[in-house]
């Protein structure tokens, strides 16, 4: 019994990591329909910057705050220099390719600015495992789960209750119409990239004590996070949360009960199955095209 509980808690830990990364995709997608493949790099920059500042002697909390601000500036720069020049006329595919190029660029810069080693900083509340009914979970996992829940709540209220959130959704829906009703679409795009970068950085800060970080940590995280977001429905905060947790559980249960060799395969098979039946993911928006 305690084995099942341990698998559950392990799945919760990994799932929360995926959910946090998946949440980062939502804002930019909701603002422009673009899947930002540089999202993994935002997570990496958040984690690596914190590591290097902390190693230089800055207190952990201050290092994390500075890392988040730095990542937001990177996200803003990405938007201003690579996305804005397209002046809203580029297709979604073009913008996605731009973000892929940006992610490769950021990885290269990270190798030079940081280094190529694997890094970590201490967990926020120590490493003493918390025992629940014979199974253990690390305090840092609770931080990750808490962070994911908080960001989810923030995004949910942002998109459903705030005027700016509605403006973001309107910009993706029809940019010209949004401009006509007075929405500053340039500000909305810049804001969405900065916020996504911030979410990515927060994810990086929270998960690094568990996953460790290096200049290429973004690739694997982005892949799993993107898959989780697709599973739950791209653009839906609830979808990102549920998708991530579900993927984590599938991986943990497969590793525990079937074989660890197949755990990645199992997760992706489930994603394919869901997408065959519900192409928009579990909580994805139904898109209606007017003919």
């Amino acid at each position: 019994m305690s084995e099942l509980l341990q698998f559950l808690l392990s799945g919760l830990t990994v799932g929360a990591v995926y959910a946090l990364v998946a949440l980062g995709f939502t804002i930019i997608y909701n603002a422009s329909g673009v899947v930002n493949f540089a999202q993994g790099e935002f997570v990496m920059i958040g984690g690596m910057t914190t590591v290097f500042l902390f190693d230089a002697g800055v207190p952990l909390f201050a290092a994390a705050v500075v890392a988040i601000i730095v990542t937001m500036l990177v996200g803003l720069a990405l938007e201003k220099l690579a996305v804005e020049p397209t002046r809203g006329e580029a297709s979604v595919v073009t913008l996605i390719i731009i973000t892929i190029g940006a992610s490769i660029f950021l990885r290269g810069v990270a190798q030079v600015v940081f280094d190529k080693q694997i890094h970590r900083f201490p967990s926020f509340s120590g490493d003493e495992p918390i025992v629940i009914g014979g199974a253990t979970i690390l305090p840092q996992s609770l931080w990750v789960i808490g962070g994911a829940a908080a960001i989810f709540a923030g995004l949910y209220f942002f998109f459903s209750r705030s005027l700016l959130g509605k403006a973001v959704l309107a910009t993706a829906n029809n940019r010209l119409a949004a401009k006509l009703v007075g929405i500053n679409t340039i500000f909305v795009m810049a804001f969405s990239f900065a916020m996504s970068a911030a979410i990515g950085a927060i994810a990086g800060v929270l998960v690094t004590p568990i996953t460790l970080t290096s200049y290429d940590a973004g690739i694997a995280l982005a892949l799993k996070g993107f898959a989780a977001a697709m599973l739950g429905g791209m653009g839906s905060p609830l979808g990102a949360l549920v998708g991530g947790l579900l993927m984590g559980q599938i991986e943990a249960m497969t590793a525990g009960y079937i074989s660890s060799e197949y755990k990645d395969a199992a997760a992706f098979i489930v994603i394919l199955a869901v997408l065959f039946v519900m192409p928009r993911g579990i909580f994805g928006r139904r898109t209606i095209d007017r003919v």
Partner: protein, 384 residues
């Protein structure tokens, strides 16, 4: 001819003459080729190796080179990608026309390059771990690091001495982890060890608690062995302590660097692993014949690069000095003669141990060169 044509023709002739004048006959130089994983996930292997080679080439050239000729090091970065490694190997042979090659930070890259050097008949000293590189023996291929098979043997030897008979394995699925897992499964019965659990994890996985929970639940478990390198073993070690598993944990020599201790934190205390003497250079007794070599290399490396010494850089050190020794004994730059002399290396004391090569043994190390270490208080200690 029209004036324009005249001028153009004259300009071309002048340019050709200038180029011809600039091209002086090449100074007598021995070209040594190399392609290592200087960037990428295996850069903790390739980066110290590359720095070591550059440092040693400069040192040797300052001493007058080898057999009166300066050494030119042609270095590429393959990032441990076997495809790139093979491309660079072809380039080294065809474009750069090197005399000998010290390359291959990882097993995957090495195996991809072997056919190129075998066909071109250029001696190739690999810096990678798996036993398949030199077993079966290939005419032109040698290697300097201990094999994964030797690591398994050393670990099982230690387990036997501690009365451990039932072992659970959790391996990385990368080339090295997979290869060492296979070797350990093969060798275990010879040491009276039964492998009672066999789990794996991917190189980028963040949590191995499900696999470890399964292993811990196996009846009669007495120890756990973790072949692999990179971030995987660090996370396995942390998870191990998190789950409160009491049996001993053995790691492979793939984690023989301070960064593993730093990443695994307090969880690393009590972990045992086989490693080369370079890690405990200062703790060796003065009577140990390896001590002067490892201390000398460590001091030179740390002075030249400012980085802490790494056992992987030591592999490059051994390869370079064995190659220089072979060139000196051969007295020529003929690749076949150099190859023959590498094969006859005897009594060479390197950072990995004493090397005695033969036509059937292109590694030349025995188990005594490996030391069993235990991590105590965040530092290496020798297990008696």
């Amino acid at each position: 001819m029209k004036p324009m044509h005249c001028m153009r023709a004259a300009a071309l002739v002048a340019a050709a003459a200038a180029v011809a004048a600039l091209v002086s006959p090449a100074a007598a130089q021995i070209k040594i080729g190399s392609t290592l994983a200087q960037t990428g996930g295996a850069s903790f292997l390739g980066d110290p190796e590359a720095k070591t080679l550059k440092m040693l080439v400069d040192e040797q050239n300052a001493k007058g080179g080898v057999i009166g000729q300066q050494i030119e090091l042609v270095m590429y970065d393959d990032g441990a990608d076997p495809n790139k490694a093979r491309t660079f190997a072809t380039r080294l042979v065809e474009d750069d026309e090197v005399t000998a090659v010290i390359a291959g930070s990882t097993t995957g890259a090495t195996m991809a390059m072997i056919p190129v050097f075998e066909e071109a008949q250029i001696p190739f000293i690999s810096l990678a771990g798996a036993v398949v590189i030199i077993d079966p023996v290939k005419t032109w291929v040698f290697k300097t690091p201990h094999t994964d098979a030797m690591a398994c043997a050393k670990i099982f030897e230690d387990m036997q001495a501690r009365g451990i008979a039932k072992v659970g394995m959790i391996s990385g699925t990368g080339g090295f982890g997979k290869s060492m897992r296979g070797q350990c499964l093969k060798l275990a019965p010879q040491y009276g060890v039964e492998i009672v659990a066999d789990e794996t994890y991917g190189p980028k996985d963040a949590d191995m608690t499900p696999q470890l929970t399964k292993i811990a639940a196996t009846a009669g478990l007495q120890a756990v062995l973790n072949p692999g390198f990179g971030q995987g073993p660090a996370i396995v070690t942390r998870n191990f302590r998190q789950l409160g598993i009491k049996v001993p944990l053995y790691e492979s020599h793939g984690v023989a660097s301070k960064s593993y201790i730093k990443l695994a934190g307090e969880a690393a205390n009590g972990v045992r692993l086989p490693a080369a003497a370079l890690l405990i250079a200062d703790k060796l007794p003065d009577s140990d014949p390896q001590k002067p070599v490892v201390v000398g290399y460590r001091d030179a490396y740390e002075k030249a690069t400012g980085d802490p010494v790494s056992t992987f850089g030591g592999h490059a050190y051994d390869a370079f000095h064995m190659l220089i020794g072979a060139i000196e004994r051969a007295g020529s730059t003929d690749p076949a003669a150099i190859r023959d002399q590498i094969e006859q290396t005897k009594g060479f004391m390197g950072t990995a141990g004493e090397v005695n090569m033969s036509p059937t043994d292109h590694l030349g190390l025995n188990l005594s060169a490996f030391r069993m270490l235990e991590i105590k208080d965040g530092d290496w200690t020798i297990v008696k």
